[in-house]
Symmetry: C2
Subunit: 368 residues, 2 copies
């Protein structure tokens, strides 16, 4: 059996997803769910989001004409990379498919508490910048609600109600709190839970879904416990669980630093350099050997990025896969395909991000 | 040496104030401070407020024409009793004397976190009701700023900045946190510290004073430590420390329940009943014995309440004292004096409380 270590703040070794599904007691995506997602974003229909908690109930609610919504948040960072967009691409895809509301809390407070050297002003500035990147994805301004904890401080009212139902020892075990951590950090589990429950605080009980890396499932479990407390009587939040998105070098979880990720601000030249230099290749050592034996698309990061994000055409993806496997397509050629795709995406993204500055106010919640 | 136990949430035995002053490292009120307080409220000039931390610096700042202010808060309760008014009577007296701003944070959040059975709505309602009792004391609406944490949620911004500088183990030792306490409770030390520092967050560094029971001094010490952190560069908050205000039965600290306190809503009849039945008497067992030996005003609660609150005329107070001590004044007669004084006060208070409803908005801070 593969050995690995997984907490919401630590990943080590090769993740055994089958064991996680069984240990966590979550479910694999069903055929019914798949049928709804088959024309959706590659992240959904190619099962990067591979498991769920009660998402079938969300679908059932939708089918019976009831309100459903999506909630997914972000702890802001100085620069966003493509991996950061994953849950928001999914939220956008769900909004397109189900015409539902999307709630996006930005936890500038969390980052401020957890990062010793992050100033208050920088936490706020990163949030504002990150919000532009999210709006650039094309959310519907009439159905998308974004807020920062340090601006929409009314969230404290909900966080307080939640805080009363989470004791320190529970928060400590789920969030890995230590006595030397500051007490903002101790409080943050209440804030995060209030985020997950926010759509229900806002408009009353209904089914929500949170697209989330499977390592974050423990947070969902706290929110599900709190949701059904008699103070609230909400529906248990449902979740869609993703596998890890690998870094360029192929490690399990993307890090925000270094050359192993593609930042949304990277130039075309920078993208080319990073992919060529760092994207882990499934090819052979020499061209001759590659032509003879073929490459391995399953471990090739360029192929995986195309599969997960950038080649939405199934037929084209299959051709790339087969050509790479047969040795017809060389690693450099495969990388070139990815580089071009990413650069088209980034050019478009950077344009939309500029446009977002003009409409950002349409998305932001105002204090009570 | 007297044995006693004192934490901010527990009092046992006979308080040895001399030892507290030495253990805590606070100072007795100086002659210079006394000279400012000599025509002030009995609580100040008769040295119920008997010690201080750096209040001489506050006075010096005032003398050199610098801004000074008062900050004193309240955790709301269903009904307020006379003991609850103590720090606010002092704040009002300081405002009258020094024409300074007074800040009054109301911690509905604290009570909500700490009292398992207190609902959110009741915490809010008690706050609103308590605020009327405070305004009834006659604060200047142009220089007095009142806010509830559950309304003025902008306070979360300051609490967050403070929270980053208080770690859990420190909060645990000063506030007696336990693992089974909820995480709102864990966070509250940051909120309370933000309250004490609020005037400086609001208008910049200056000297503030908090009138406070000496048992609450540890909270002041945390605020003083945080104030001078490089994130803030505030002045250390100064404090005026009070002895305990005894309950009718004479025990060290008033409790909010039972017959041993005078609620601000008590009827004249109720006041008469409580004082006659419960006010601890320094008199003798029989009238004959009292006439012969005289009473002991030092332990007589009726005399003490007159001294601390209700007989501002020094000459009259002295006559009462001497007549009681000589046996001329009987315990029943002394009680009658107090009953009449309290009832005049309460009748007036209840009228002013009604008037407060019309002007409450002048005092309340609005969210950013």
């Amino acid at each position: 059996m593969a050995k690995f270590k997984l907490t919401p703040w630590e990943v080590e070794g090769d993740i055994d997803y089958e064991r996680l599904v069984s240990d966590f007691g979550v479910s694999y995506i069903t055929d019914k769910i798949k049928s709804y997602l088959q024309d959706s974003h590659p992240l959904l229909r190619r099962e990067v989001y591979f498991a769920h908690r009660d998402f079938d109930k969300w679908i059932n609610a939708y089918e019976s004409g009831k309100k459903v919504s999506v909630i997914t948040g972000r702890g802001p960072s100085e620069r966003m990379h493509i991996g950061h967009l994953v849950p928001f691409m999914v939220a956008k895809a769900l909004q397109d498919k189900f015409n539902c509301e999307v709630y996006i809390p930005i936890s500038d407070d969390e980052k401020f508490y957890v990062k010793e050297d992050l100033s208050f002003d920088n936490a706020v500035n990163y949030s504002k910048e990150n919000i532009l990147d999210l709006i650039a994805l094309g959310f519907n301004p009439k159905k998308t609600f974004i807020f920062r904890d340090f601006e929409y401080t009314s969230i404290y009212l909900y966080a307080a109600k939640v805080a009363k139902r989470i004791n320190y020892s529970m928060a400590k075990s789920v969030f890995g709190l230590k006595p030397e951590h500051n007490i903002g950090w101790s409080f943050y589990p209440a804030m995060q839970t209030a985020h997950i429950l926010f759509p229900q605080f806002n408009v009353g009980a209904h089914f929500t879904v949170t697209p989330v890396g499977i390592d974050q499932d423990p947070f969902l479990r706290i929110a599900r416990d709190v949701a059904v407390h008699k103070d609230f009587k909400f529906e248990k939040p449902t979740a869609l669980h993703a596998k890890f998105i690998p870094s360029l070098a192929g490690s399990a979880k993307m890090s925000s630093s270094g050359d192993h990720v593609i930042f949304l601000t990277d130039s075309a030249k920078e993208v080319k350099r990073k992919i060529n230099k760092y994207a882990f290749s499934g090819g052979q050592a020499t061209i001759e050997e590659h032509r003879a034996k073929g490459g391995d698309p399953d471990v090739d990061i360029s192929y995986q990025y195309l599969r997960m994000f950038f080649e939405s055409d199934d037929q084209k993806l299959k051709e790339i896969h087969d050509n790479y496997k047969s040795g017809n397509l060389l690693s450099g050629e495969l990388k070139k395909i990815l580089i071009d795709k990413i650069n088209v995406f980034l050019e478009e993204h950077q344009k939309k991000r500029e446009d977002a500055k003009k409409i950002v106010d349409l998305f932001l919640l105002k204090n009570k």
